[in-house]
């Protein structure tokens, strides 16, 4: 027998709006980083992170239907906005190293090293499966727990931890990080 999900009450909607605003301070930076690893443009990443929260606030009535923790729901929105953005600019889903801005532009030596490091890591990342890449993005850059990542990816916690280990094993080989 089909069950009908009751509609959100006004109080529930208002409570969720307040929760969302409360998450802003903790998650804005993480979401901006998560976006950055996808699109490689700092300014665009900041704008998209801002848009994630606005879009979430405007769609708050639909939040409960997702069944996700709110922070996981924010990353879903972020992912969708990234996909839209990449579709618009017709970029591939890896960081375009040449266009990456370098934070410490006072030190040309560091800039070069940083670019080389990013190039190396970027090249290694694209050797992973799409799911492995997404697990690492959510865990390392998005700052989500494996449980939260599992919610977004519709996987079990165990499956996410397994993918995480496999991804790191592969990265270790590709980045030539030796065992002690």
């Amino acid at each position: 027998m089909a069950s009908k999900v009751p509609r959100n009450t006004n109080k529930e909607i208002r409570d969720n709006e307040a929760r969302l605003v409360a998450l802003y301070e903790e998650y804005y930076d993480k979401i901006a980083r998560y976006v950055y690893i996808h699109i490689g443009d700092k300014s665009e990443s900041e704008d998209i992170a801002s848009e994630v929260f606005l879009k979430a606030l405007k769609s708050i009535k639909t939040y409960r239907d997702t069944g996700l923790p709110m922070q996981a729901w924010l990353y879903k929105i972020a992912h969708n906005l990234v996909v839209d953005h990449l579709r618009k600019v017709s970029r591939i889903k890896t960081v375009p190293i040449e266009t990456v801005e370098i934070i410490d532009n006072q030190d040309p030596f560091n800039d070069v090293n940083r670019k080389l490091e990013m190039e190396k890591v970027g090249a290694a990342m694209i050797q992973l499966t799409e799911e492995q890449q997404e697990v690492l993005r959510l865990r390392f850059f998005g700052g989500l727990t494996s449980k939260e990542a599992a919610d977004i990816l519709n996987k079990s916690d165990g499956a996410v931890r397994e993918m995480q280990r496999a991804a790191l094993e592969k990265l270790r080989q590709l980045l030539n990080v030796n065992r002690q």
């Binding site: 605003v21 900041e46 606030l57 931890r161 397994e162 990265l171 002690q180």
Partner: protein
């Protein structure tokens, strides 16, 4: 074993993400150090390569936008305000009050637009007799139905309409004692000659005693003023008798029980003329034996 290692690796990744050192984490799991260390180094190398801290200005700007939208959503829209239950009830109450004021408070104020002539006294040889009677409905449920009438108005037509007002000589009567064609005279006096189109009575109280239980109950009124629109003529050479027919109806149902209402019965009300002769007598006011009614 793999599952256990995955859990340990996961915990260490969380600890490094929170800013703990690699050495501290490895120290907690010496038996897994050899396997953990290269994986955690790969993790830190990857995370460091793409480390990025959004600018304070961008974060502040995003915060302002978010809070502005949050505040905007806290303000109810015009339609939300309109459909709030409290507003609906207040609006409904205001409408009811307005209607009530229009119907009851303003009506007397509107009437002066039609001038009123008050007949100061009754006269046993007057040209107009006002009577009441009852029509069979729920009246049989009662042993007595005591009705009090305060005023009577007749609408006189002609070049200019005017209300003709008088106070019944008999203001209280038992409607249950006037079955069928039996009538009771409440007033006789002289009113202006001519055509009339409407009769209004002001009823102040109606109580009935139920035959079945002996209980005295209040009988409701649709309004304190009951009217019938029936044309009649008051001529110089006759006495006009007008019978205002009232009836009690049961508006209740099986679930809620009986509810009684006093209503005018236009179909049974009407006038008749009796030529004035030397033997003219007035009906017996106390025994309810007036003129027979002429159907309008």
């Amino acid at each position: 074993m793999t599952n256990e290692f995955d859990m340990i690796l996961d915990k260490c990744i969380d600890r490094l993400s929170r800013g703990e050192s690699l050495d501290k984490c490895l120290a907690d799991y010496p038996e897994h150090k050899a396997q953990l260390e290269p994986l955690l180094k790969a993790m830190t190398e990857t995370a460091t390569a793409y480390s990025f801290v959004p600018s304070a200005e961008a974060k502040r700007s995003a915060r302002i936008k978010l809070y502005a939208e949050f505040e905007r959503r806290r303000q109810p829209s015009f339609w939300q305000r309109m459909i709030q239950p409290r507003v609906v009830w207040v609006s409904a109450a205001a409408v009811v009050l307005l209607v009530a004021v229009s119907l009851f408070a303003l009506r007397p104020a509107l009437w002066p637009a039609i001038p009123t002539t008050t007949i100061p006294s009754a006269s046993t040889d007057g040209n107009f007799i006002f009577m009441v009677s009852d029509d069979v409905n729920a009246i049989e449920d009662f042993s007595t139905v005591d009705v009090t009438i305060e005023k009577v108005w007749l609408l006189h037509t002609g070049d200019q309409e005017q209300w003709v007002e008088f106070t019944p000589t008999t203001q209280e009567f038992n409607l249950a004692s006037l079955p069928g064609d039996a009538t009771q005279v409440l007033w006789q006096g002289n009113v202006p000659l001519g055509e009339y189109t409407r009769v209004v009575i002001e009823v102040s109280q109606v109580t009935g005693v139920l035959k079945a239980t002996g209980e005295t109950i209040e009988i409701k009124l649709p309004s304190d003023k009951l009217q019938v629109k029936i044309p009649f003529n008051v001529g110089a050479d006759s006495v006009t008798s007008f019978t205002f027919d009232l009836t009690v109806v049961n508006t209740g149902n099986a679930q809620d029980g009986a509810k009684y209402l006093l209503k005018p019965q236009a179909g049974e009300s009407g006038s008749s003329q009796t030529p004035i002769t030397n033997e003219q007598t007035t009906p017996d006011k106390d025994k309810g034996q007036g003129e027979p009614r002429k159907q309008p």
